[in-house]
């Protein structure tokens, strides 16, 4: 392959699929735009190397997304190590939220905001990110992949190699923590 012609191909990919792939990666990497950009870049390079093997059975976008997804999963699996996961599952933080009779320590109350108004509010974003940053790694990974990327529970279990009951335990813990953190730093304050 002549390098000039190849490069035109890749330039076209950057223009046509760059935003899409970047967004795909950002939502799966806890909003880390820089990391997402590096991965997209590596995807284009890997795509170029493997282009001859691309048989056109899917669209170029789907094919590139597949390469990117593989890189992201590889990265996430390295972060969410098996020991971390075992630790996180065996820990039982429920006494942080509930008494031995299973009743709430602190009563949750309905929040009075619309999702649309929260979306436009930069201060809320900042608080939300701080609360998410406080979650243990494994919980944060599962939670962002589920809620930000909108991946199905099955896909997450497969990617991270965890059982569905582990996933549900982790999601429950993440929601308990985030809810309490947001209540403390945002909703509770505004309603007082």
């Amino acid at each position: 392959m002549g390098s000039n012609k190849d490069f035109l191909l890749v330039e076209g990919w950057v223009e046509e699929h760059g935003d899409y792939l970047h967004c795909f990666a950002t939502t799966r990497l806890n909003g880390d735009r820089e990391m997402a950009r590096d991965m997209v870049q590596e995807t284009f390079i890997a795509g170029w190397k493997a282009y001859q093997a691309f048989e056109g059975k899917s669209t170029v976008r789907t094919w590139l997304t597949g390469i990117l997804k593989y890189k992201i999963i590889d990265h996430i699996r390295k972060q969410v190590r098996v020991e971390n996961l075992a630790d996180e599952i065996s820990r039982d933080p429920s006494s942080d939220w509930f008494g031995s009779d299973g009743r709430w320590h602190e009563s949750p109350k309905a929040w009075g905001s619309s999702p649309e108004s929260l979306c436009e509010n930069d201060n809320f974003h900042m608080i939300l990110h701080r609360c998410m940053a406080k979650l243990p790694d494994v919980q944060r990974q599962v939670f962002t992949q589920r809620e930000l990327s909108g991946d199905s529970s099955d896909a997450i279990c497969k990617d991270l190699d965890i059982s569905s009951s582990n996933l549900h335990v982790l999601m429950h813990r993440a929601r308990l923590s985030l809810r309490a953190c947001l209540n403390h730093h945002w909703f509770g304050k505004r309603e007082l």
């Binding site: 490069f7 870049q41 190397k49 979306c119």
Partner: protein, 84 residues
Amino acid sequence: MYSCKQASRMASDALDRKLTWSEFFHLKLHLMMCGMCRGFNQNIHLLESALKNINHKSSREGLSADEKESIKKSVKRALENEHH
């Protein structure tokens, strides 16, 4: 009869999987009688929709022209190294 701990778990699970009839029934029953768990349930639903909206918004932001140029340059450099 679910405790608040169990009910909060089912309320969370309901966002990620389909509950069985029995789980669904027990959750509804608990929510009918417990304002605290109704509060929790409302909070996690609101959190979910807020995150969906935020995600939608950030996906419109995309890459800047500078970022695209920088990607092109790096890819070009990598491809040239391949040729040598």
